[in-house]
Amino acid sequence: MPRYSYGRGDTPWVPDGDPFFRGVNMLLDRSMLQPGTLARSENKRLRDGVAATRPGTTSPGDFNPAFENTIIGSGIYSNPNGEEVMLVATAGANYVWALQFGKDPVQIQIDPAGDPTGLTGNGIVNFVQAFDKVFLLRVPVVGPNAILVWDGIAGNKFTEIALSPIGLNLIPATWDGRPFQNRILLYSPYFTALPGRDRVIMTDPLDYTSYDSILGQFRINAGESDLITSVVPYFRGAILVFMLHSVHMLENFTIDPFQASQRLLNGQIGSVGYQMPLQVGADVMFLSRPGGIYRVSEIALDEIKTPPVPVSRPIQPIIDRINWDWANLAACSAQVGDQSYFAFPLDATSGGSNVITVFNNITNEWESAPDSWGDLSFRINRMHVTLYNGSPRLFALDFAAKRIYLMYDGVQDEINGDFWPVRDVMETRGYVSNDPGSFKRFERVLLGLRTYDPSAIVTALSDGVNEEKVIATITKDRLRFYVHAHPPFDPIAGDPNEAKRKDYSLGGDQNFAIEDFEDLPVGRLDFIPGSPFVFNGVKQQSLEKFQIRQNGRWCSIRVENNQGQCDVLGVGVDALPSAQEGIKTLA
């Protein structure tokens, strides 16, 4: 039965809308977008079809000891004989921090014996898992064999690498590396001089200290003087070698180096960002200038006959804003669960990335473009996934601010000790009410909401310059009920679980902040983190109806939330066709 009935002389309204949301497409005109596609989605998540406000950001004490100096490198070390830890190097230190959830931070000392400096240095540090050990690689290289190794045993130090008794040649120091099958692959991303520019060194099998100086070195695309930006293990015994102007595959080289073959996957599309390529299932996604993010399966010219299309095409306006000069160092990526996260520096941002775009690997749609933070000094230099309270969680490191953030936790962003609300914005596609070619009178919008202490502004947009009309602001009184004449909620004596209350946030109840320091790590302290806003996870649902009264070929609805959480379950608009109402028609 229809919700509304019409009299004999009434013109029926034509409904249009989205009962769910799948992704965002910023490239196409919004009147062309498919149902379920947003024209704008910032700080949103669409994982379950709801345009939900993304969770907040916290800086857990276990991961934030008093770093004496700026962070210059980090990595995840999975100790087969112990637990997974995040290793963090600070500038000029004679130790490395080992961090993990529920444990006090530990300093792993660097053994100065045999090492040229005995320090982390002032450049960049990369950590590479090497069987059950971990390498510490320094940029710039401090000596010909200046690789430090830690065995994962608490109390032991990072020590100078030593050739194994059966080894041929001690591996040279490089800038980075990757474990691959029974070997370690070493390379120097963005190294401009020969031989490091295009060389991949392969250690001997099951020996991370030794390599064959003749058969254990591979030069990639040497004829074009291209330089390596990253190396990623692939499948079937192959690795992908990403270079500045091309992408190559090196195959069949681990069993018998004489059988090795190199394949040019694409000579026009290169890769940017040595921390950027991301393996997602059997595919690898990488950033290329200026096209954006591609899949390797899309760019392999011997398999695909059409020009490659970047997977980031729907968010091309964001890609066009990337500060490419800083993307080499600052762009990074990570995957957790269904979602892949790509961090970029936008516009004139320097020192690190300032936004994250979120891609859903299941739906193959972009969910948020981008996530951003209220503190404009916030930077992301690395992203890692490691265990937090038993679950793999995304962490972001701000090197200059010496902060490590747990991403997407809580309802607020705690950045540099201050709390910021998550401000999210969504704009729907342009609703044309089954007739993209004619003007309509848009009368009303219906919004299905799921909120927690929201403060949202609803704006109707139509096809014209500055044709924006604020049609409503949405806040919810936590003391009021939807039931008519229901007495207000009593925060002291009332039942906090009584149904039909407008908002179940704890704002007014949380009238204290007391810190017993039990969550702080033992050791030096730079600051005392703020007491987080308590989020009880209870979001109330409601159906909101607002008048639009706007003419246009299409109508798009913007919902802009400035505090708490405002999830949009669905949007519907009702329009009067122009023919019946005598409204202006399209010329």
Binding site: A66, E68, G417, D418, F419, N511, F512, A513, I514, E515, D516, F517, E518, D519, L520, P521, V522, G523, R524, L525, D526, I528, G530, S531
Partner: protein, 259 residues
């Protein structure tokens, strides 16, 4: 910049130990408050890091006396408005325990062994004091370089020197601030009043529930400062311990907005 360290005292009580003469300036958010209560579980320990992290008595003594050369030679336990200057300097509003007398230097700041008062019948406590006497310059309301309100006696603060004698290693100090409306700058400060003491309780199990319940049931016998119309409303907790032979330990702190 590191200002303190965290230890796990007794394996059960994470404690923040300030570096010698290092301050804590912790912003608080309690919008529209009309009744704000702030409290700390505090103690003091020797200055040697880390040897004295848990030494509250013995040699070398924590007792000390020196001549004041400026605000950084006075103790402060209270709240202030955000800024980088010290309380007692231009633009800074401060309300709380302090021996600061604006524009006055040359007197002494001392930490003395004391009983739970101003005598020496036992040595269960340490007591900071002003050189002018045991009952003067104990708590103030300061606005810039002006002393807006000062009361004397019966609000002395003590810190534990003998755990068995005091009944615990941490002392609870609390302050209450009220104002007639959420937009008013006319602030009244109260604190517990006893016989030469303002200490609320001593415990070896300082905790968040304990400080919260005491803040909610604020003592009824109090000494009142103000109301005073101030140039700014305080929005930060401020702790500063000026001594060199001892360090301030913060076991738990926080605030409750009652109104």
């Amino acid at each position: 910049m590191s200002f303190a360290k965290t230890i796990n005292k007794g394996g059960t009580d994470k404690t923040v130990i300030h570096d010698v003469r290092a301050f804590l300036n912790q912003p608080i958010e309690a919008p529209d408050w009309t009744d704000l209560r702030v409290g700390w579980f505090l103690s003091v320990c020797g200055s040697a890091d880390p040897a004295d992290d848990d030494r509250i008595s013995g040699a070398p003594t924590l007792a000390e006396s020196f001549t004041q050369a400026g605000p950084s030679d006075k103790w402060f336990i209270g709240i202030r408005n955000t800024g980088t200057n010290f309380p007692g300097e231009s633009g800074v509003v401060f309300l709380g325990y302090t021996n600061h007398v604006p524009n006055q230097i040359g007197d002494a700041t001392s930490l003395v062994s004391s009983d739970l008062g101003i005598g020496t019948t036992n040595s269960n406590y340490w007591r900071p004091k002003h050189g002018n006497g045991d009952i003067l310059h104990l708590a103030k309301i300061l606005d810039g370089e002006s002393e807006r309100w000062s009361n004397n006696d019966n609000i002395q603060t003590h810190f534990v020197q003998n755990i068995a004698g005091a009944g615990g290693y941490a002392v609870l100090h609390m302050l209450r601030f009220t104002r007639p409306s959420a937009t008013s700058n006319a602030i009244t400060m109260t604190m517990k009043q006893g016989v030469h003491t303002s200490d609320v309780l001593y415990t070896s199990t300082p905790s968040e529930p304990l400080i919260r319940s005491n803040l909610e049931a604020f003592p009824t016998t109090v000494q009142t400062f103000g109301p005073v119309t101030l140039s700014a409303v305080p929005d930060s907790i401020w702790l500063y311990w000026p001594f060199r032979n001892s360090r301030l330990r913060n076991h738990c702190c926080g605030f409750v907005k009652v109104g």
